[in-house]
């Protein structure tokens, strides 16, 4: 063991033996409890429903249909995403595909287009695209980058010597893919598939606009019908159960023997296969993929932008003031949400990095678990809490921003934690030994080191909040009409031309901030979140 390794383990031990400051621990526990709150509220509501009532509610044919719809869309879209994502990643990373840099970007961009916008575009293209096939098309094209990105990263990280060994042992390119590459992609691929499944299970906006009934849309309908929430809570509990199954499976996959490279040598560029004449069908495939995932959504928005309000099925006037106030509302909520969420993630992140131990691990798992609670369930739980406990906060901006924090804390925690790892304690110790006090050390060492990562965390949350629909719909104060809400309302009224300017602004903000995030903090800032 080298001297460096000895010193880090020693450091690690002394860090974990050090007493955790009480204030820090309290703050971290508080945040974890806040995140857990919606889950507890929903379960409590469902439990208060009574066994007989519950059985009656759950054993309806409707629930069977919902379960069938949900499972069907989740399984088919996950498989479609896996095939498209893996194929796209392999062609971009492993062949001499013409223009592969451009395709690499184009294949990832759909992640920045919210699924309900894609849904809006397709619905406005043709009313016949509703139901299962439309839903499959929309969610597959919206979610496949969640497989493309981790698989491409895994392909890049793979040791080319393995493939070369396989080739020299007599395997052709296809056999090599099947017997060497695919087994090593398994963690990235399975992890990505489970995240897609989780996303599709929780998806609300895209399905609602397509009038495809799943658990989420039915929970919303139930809530609109009764408002007392217990029927919705019952369905929500079933949905949560499905999500938690995915989440536990994802956790298992993450823990699965990582096929670490056995060696530590310098890495060569991987072998790239010449495609020959086969490049034409592949190029056509990538062209079609881009057309479907980006061309249609962006094209439809542009098309409706150029139509006058009266060309739409139900004309609605759009005024400049309305646009401005919606943009303002979206940006304001986005900034407030980003700030609050990052601040809330700090104590937990600090605890995880500096005082690792059993308590920290438990809190981390709690936040991870909360990731499996769909947005609509969180939103409904907050509504019910507001009505029963914090009445003055009901439909206030404060409540909405808090809900965003609950929703996106797991997202922020990944970046915050990575950022704090950058600021190693020994660097702080060095600064102190050079005569800096606590405050100066924070200002001149910790913040410059952790700052970019914290910025990335805030930016990720900002994008997520701006493109969020479900909680906004349920909790936005009356008169606060964000871009997402406007798109929803107009599309529901079939006023496609009226929705277009809002959709265009929303996509523009999302694309610009994603681009900014990537160019400021590097691709990994975005990538890490799909790989978690």
């Amino acid at each position: 063991m080298s001297a460096a390794a000895v010193s880090t383990t020693a450091e690690h031990r002394s860090a974990s033996r050090r007493r955790t400051p009480f204030g820090l621990l309290g703050a971290a526990v508080g945040v974890a409890l806040l995140v857990l709150l919606p889950l507890v509220v929903t379960l409590k509501q469902a439990a208060g429903f009574g066994l007989d009532n519950a059985a009656e509610l759950l054993l309806r044919p409707l629930v069977g249909e919902l379960a069938l719809n949900t499972l069907l869309i989740v399984s088919t879209s996950t498989i479609a995403c896996a095939v498209i994502g893996t194929a796209a990643a392999w062609f971009v990373e492993r062949t001499e595909l013409p223009g592969r840099r451009a395709w690499a970007v184009l294949a990832a961009v759909p992640l920045a287009v919210p699924p309900f916008i894609t849904s809006y575009a397709w619905v406005s293209l043709s009313q016949s695209l509703q139901d299962f096939l439309g839903a499959l098309l929309v969610v597959s094209t919206a979610y496949y980058p969640m497989i493309y990105l981790p698989v491409a990263a895994a392909l890049r990280g793979m040791d080319p010597a393995l493939e070369e060994s396989a080739r020299s042992l007599g395997l052709g390119p296809w056999a090599c893919f099947r017997r060497v590459i695919l087994p090593q992609l398994k963690p990235a691929l399975l992890g990505g598939m489970l995240l897609v499944a989780l996303g599709v299970l929780s998806e609300f906006g895209a399905f609602a606009l397509l009038r495809f009934r799943t658990f989420t849309t039915e929970i919303y309908a139930e809530y609109r019908a009764s408002f007392d929430g217990s029927g919705a809570a019952m369905l929500a509990s079933v949905l949560m159960l499905l999500c938690l199954v995915c989440l536990v499976a994802e956790f298992k996959v993450r823990g699965m023997a990582r096929y670490d490279r056995l060696d530590r040598g310098t890495r060569r560029a991987p072998v790239r296969y010449a495609l020959g004449w086969f490049k034409w069908p592949v190029l056509i495939g990538f062209g079609a993929l881009t057309l479907i995932t980006l061309g249609v959504p962006l094209g439809m928005i542009l098309y409706w932008l150029m139509q006058h309000g009266d060309a739409a099925i139900t004309p609605v006037e759009v005024s400049a003031e309305q646009l401005l106030s919606s943009t303002g509302a979206s940006l304001g909520l986005g900034l407030a949400g980003a700030l609050l969420t990052t601040v809330l993630a700090l104590p937990l992140g600090y605890l995880l990095v500096r005082y690792p131990g059993r308590i920290a691990t438990v809190l981390e798992r709690v936040v991870y678990l909360a990731q499996g609670v769909p947005g609509i369930v969180i939103a409904l739980a907050v509504v019910s809490l507001a009505i029963h406990v914090f009445m003055p906060l009901y439909q206030s901006a404060t409540m909405l921003v808090c809900t965003y924090s609950i929703l996106f804390l797991p997202l922020a925690l990944v970046s915050v934690r990575a950022a704090l790892v950058q600021a190693e304690p020994r660097l702080e110790d060095t600064a102190r030994s050079l005569g800096l006090n606590w405050w100066q050390t924070l200002w001149r060492v910790t913040l410059p080191l952790a700052g970019p990562g914290l910025g990335a965390a805030a930016a990720m949350v900002f994008i997520a909040v701006v493109t969020e629909l479900t909680a906004t719909l349920l909790l936005a104060p009356i008169g606060t009409d964000t871009l997402a809400k406007e798109v929803w309302v107009d599309t529901s009224a079939l006023a496609f031309a009226a929705a277009a300017p809002y959709a265009a602004l929303l996509v523009a903000i999302s694309l610009c901030s994603t681009w900014l995030l990537m160019s400021l903090f590097g691709k990994s800032a975005v990538l890490d979140h799909t790989q978690r």
Binding site: L169, P183, Q184
Partner: protein, 345 residues
Amino acid sequence: MAELRIQGLSKHFGAHTVLRGIDLTVASGSLVAILGPSGSGKTTLLRLLCGFERADGGSIALNGRIVSSAADHVPPEQRRIGYVPQEGALFPHLSVAENIVFGLPRQERRARHRVQELLELVGLSADYANRPPQQLSGGQQQRVALARALAPSPALVLLDEPFSALDAALRAETREAVADALSAAGATAVLVTHDQSEALSMGHQVAVLWDGRLVQVASPEQLYRQPANPELARFIGDAVLLPGVAGNGQVQCALGTLALMGGMPQGPVQVLLRPEQIRLLPLSGASEARARVLEVIFYGHDACVRLRTGGVSPIELTARVPGHSSPVPGQEVALAIEGSVAAFA
């Protein structure tokens, strides 16, 4: 096992020429070590042989069959070349046995064809068969990688710096195991390395690659004793280079009159001797070459002694002496030269 014949092989990456006109023949059943400093083009040569890269000129023939030329490029999987990459590159998702049978047809994979025999060949016990590669040491991984390369009975085995990641003790042991396994299998092999002692101890022939050219192909002993130029002499091992005048099978230099090897140039020359040829003797008062000990670096089995000769134009040189007889700094010693020396014009 087959003969490898490389003729006029060249390769550029953009404007940068990596290999220029390589000619090399490796006799059936022999092991040639390709020795070169980093950046000399060793790895490129190996990748051309494997077929991972295409040559820009020249040809490669295996047992008379052209596998690479201006017209032909046989893909790597059809060349029957066993490749042992740096640090092994075992498939992390497969067990040791599954790694070994990886390149065999399906039935033989199922039957774990020759796993035991191959493990034995590389000096590992049969217990290793079911272990994951993560549980093996670096040297054991290297041996499994060799077994995997040998399993499909390749025409040629290529080893790419296979021992560079191992620590010193493991390296010697693994080298020996690999050399034994290769000769037991009767394999024709090419070993690429930047480590002089590895090339000299393992190669039947050593080919020195320098800036994209093969500057010398010779037996290890000839390469060490009669390198093609002074730079090469320093690269192959520690060298003492002195000015001198050669004639009649002898050379005059600061260390006296020394015996010269056959076929050496005449007239003003640079004399090459190796530090271990210099013996340090007690002063006897005769007209011998003398020197003062400046510094002793003690290694255990031997020691390096830095010396400065006396006389009008003193020179500094290094001698290598057995560890048990190392002198102390400041001591005056007499110098005697063992064996004959080489010279460069």
